[in-house]
Amino acid sequence: MRLRPRTVAGIAGIVALVGGVPATAASQAGKPQPQYALLCGVSQGPMGTRGSGPNTHFSMTAQGGKNSSPDGEYDVKTQPNKGDCDSQQNSGGNFTWAVGHAVVRPNEQGTEHANATGTSMVISGTYAVTFNGRINEYDFGAGGDPGSFTDASGTRTVYYDSFGPFNTEGGAQVGNHFRGNYRTEYYQFSDSDDVAGHDLVSDNDRDESCPVGGMNYCFEAILSGQIN
């Protein structure tokens, strides 16, 4: 079959156009792949609250185990959703998420600064992980209105919601730098089968760890980013 010259010229142009159009970077070799983590833990809420003026300064710590998924924390293949921790078992304290300094304004919003530790938090296990972000809802202590802030899970009594970027301090030079965004929630939770905070069905242990009205709060952090 012999192509007409006019047809060849048109095809050449189209091939050049299609082959060269940079529609997305997804086809680029070596593009960092999305990485996710779901951290489920327990916290006793804010500690060392100080300042009785218009601002509340506080710190708090959450500890917990990694996602019980066999994939592990940094190998979660799909974006975790809020509420995913409610079906997870706490598997021990191998991570700590510590807010060292935070300020909340009277509108229940503010800023937080701290870091996360735990050998499973970073692929290499050697780099500090920092997070500094916005507090979107703060309902601890007097004046709070827990439960007013709802999320997609719909079954939580939320006390604290925050979000921001997430970085490891170092690792960039060796391709072990995790960067992305985080979101946390401190909440209390009860299954429909719970009675007075006791999980009668034993379908998970988080509702016994932080029942509504108790002293402890469930902690959930969702990390979404990439490693480069």
Binding site: L17, P22, R134, A172, Q173, N181
Partner: protein, 412 residues
């Protein structure tokens, strides 16, 4: 043939149209991707960027590249230039260079240096980590070769021990130290005897300082911008376009101050600036801004949590993109915004105020650039346009000369 030529021309011209071929990017130009750019400086005719993956440098108009020397892989938190020396503060101390190639040190060995400031031949170094307890300030009058006090004991020197994230040293007047959560402290020498916290700083996470065009002092925090008219003894809220702004970086520019926010915006203005001191946005939509440096009128280097950008740059004043600058996709300014969240996100680091004032940098045109929203470097677009143009020319040539094996047109 005319139709084929038209197709080729249309394809080539279409790709080269503004917006598809970003010969002059409308927004900030991405110069260095995948790095957290924590400090910026102009020194010895070069531009420097301290990142979590080492020190980078560029000749004005040249590409950004890793700087040679011991900081190739360090976590560089701060830069300052006292006299004829460039100091780089990193997690393990301070290194010094007079030519950008040969480094001496480290001094303050083992100390996590979070901030630097210089005036004349004197420099201050602030230390500390987010864990607290090791935040101190040291002074050097010999280009970083020695520091005072010899042994930093924060409490003994009057400091609270929290990380010293920001410093301000001026030719006259007390030095200022901005701490991570404990406010502003002052010292007449910068070598101890700190007093504070200064009155009026309700939000004590202090990130940055600058001297405004009217001589007053500005302090950036994670919830407000503060201003002092008494050399830092007391502070009051200063107007800013955002409500509860998270100011992460401040730097001087000619007749104004440039401010970078955690929400990914850059503003110019401040007390004493033209226009009654009003701030105006010069860039937005960036990742969290960690450092800013005015390099020419209306042109700024912007270090962010996810790359180095040049804002307002229609020239190569800020250097050209590093090789593979767009290989890693820049992280957007905000993510996971809940319905009631304010449009903001970002991050802090041990961020020092930009150490140098407006630099005198020669300006040369830049042929292609990369916009932050673009996923590929500008040269890729140029190559595509060239290929398409060649395809059109080839098609026309084919029609004019005929296919292989076919007698040229006009032959008997």
């Amino acid at each position: 043939m005319k139709r084929a030529l038209a197709i080729g021309a249309a394809l080539a011209c279409g790709l080269a149209a503004p917006g598809l071929l970003p010969a002059h990017a409308a927004g900030p130009t991405l110069l260095l991707a995948g790095r957290r750019v924590q400090a910026l400086a102009a020194f010895g005719g070069m531009l420097y960027a301290g990142t979590d993956g080492g020190l980078f440098s560029a000749h004005p108009g040249g590409p950004w590249a890793p700087a040679a020397g011991p900081l190739a892989n360090g976590n560089v938190n701060a830069l300052a230039a006292p006299g004829g020396v460039l100091l780089a503060g990193y997690d393990g101390g301070v290194l010094a260079t007079s030519d950008g190639a040969h480094w001496s040190g480290p001094t303050l060995s083992g100390q996590p240096v979070a901030s630097l400031s210089a005036a004349g031949g004197t420099a201050l170094a602030g230390t500390g980590t987010s864990a607290g307890g090791n935040g101190a300030v040291y002074r050097s009058d010999d280009g970083g070769r020695s520091w005072q006090p010899a042994v930093g004991l924060p409490a003994a020197e009057g400091l609270p021990g929290s990380e010293v994230q920001a410093l301000l040293l001026r030719p006259a007047g007390p030095a200022l130290a901005g701490t991570a959560g404990d406010g502003v402290y002052r010292s007449t020498t910068g070598a101890g005897s700190w007093t504070g916290p200064a009155a009026g700083v309700e939000y004590p996470w202090v990130t940055s300082f600058a001297v405004a065009a009217d001589g007053s002092l500005l302090a950036g925090t994670d919830n407000l911008l503060y201003r002092s008219t008494d050399a830092g003894a007391s502070w009051a809220e200063a107007p800013f376009p955002q409500q509860f702004p998270w100011i992460q970086a401040l730097a001087p520019e000619q007749g104004a101050v440039v401010a970078g926010t955690f929400d990914g915006a850059v503003y110019s203005g401040g007390p004493g600036a033209a226009g009654g001191g009003a701030w105006h946005e010069v860039a937005g939509g960036l990742p969290e801004v960690l450092a800013v440096l005015a390099i020419a009128p209306g042109q700024y280097l912007v270090g962010t949590g996810d790359g180095l950008f040049c804002a307002g740059c229609t020239t190569a004043a800020g250097g050209r993109p590093a090789s593979g600058a767009a290989a890693a996709t820049p992280r957007p300014a905000a993510s996971l915004p809940p319905p009631s969240a304010r449009p903001a996100t970002g991050e802090q680091a041990g961020v020092a105020p930009s150490p140098t004032s407006t630099a005198s940098i020669p300006i040369t045109p830049v042929p292609v650039s990369t916009a932050p929203g673009s996923s590929l470097p500008g040269w890729v677009y140029a190559v595509v346009a060239l290929v398409v143009t060649l395809a059109g020319i080839c098609g026309a040539w084919w029609l004019r000369t005929g296919a292989p094996g076919r007698p040229p047109r006009g032959d008997p």
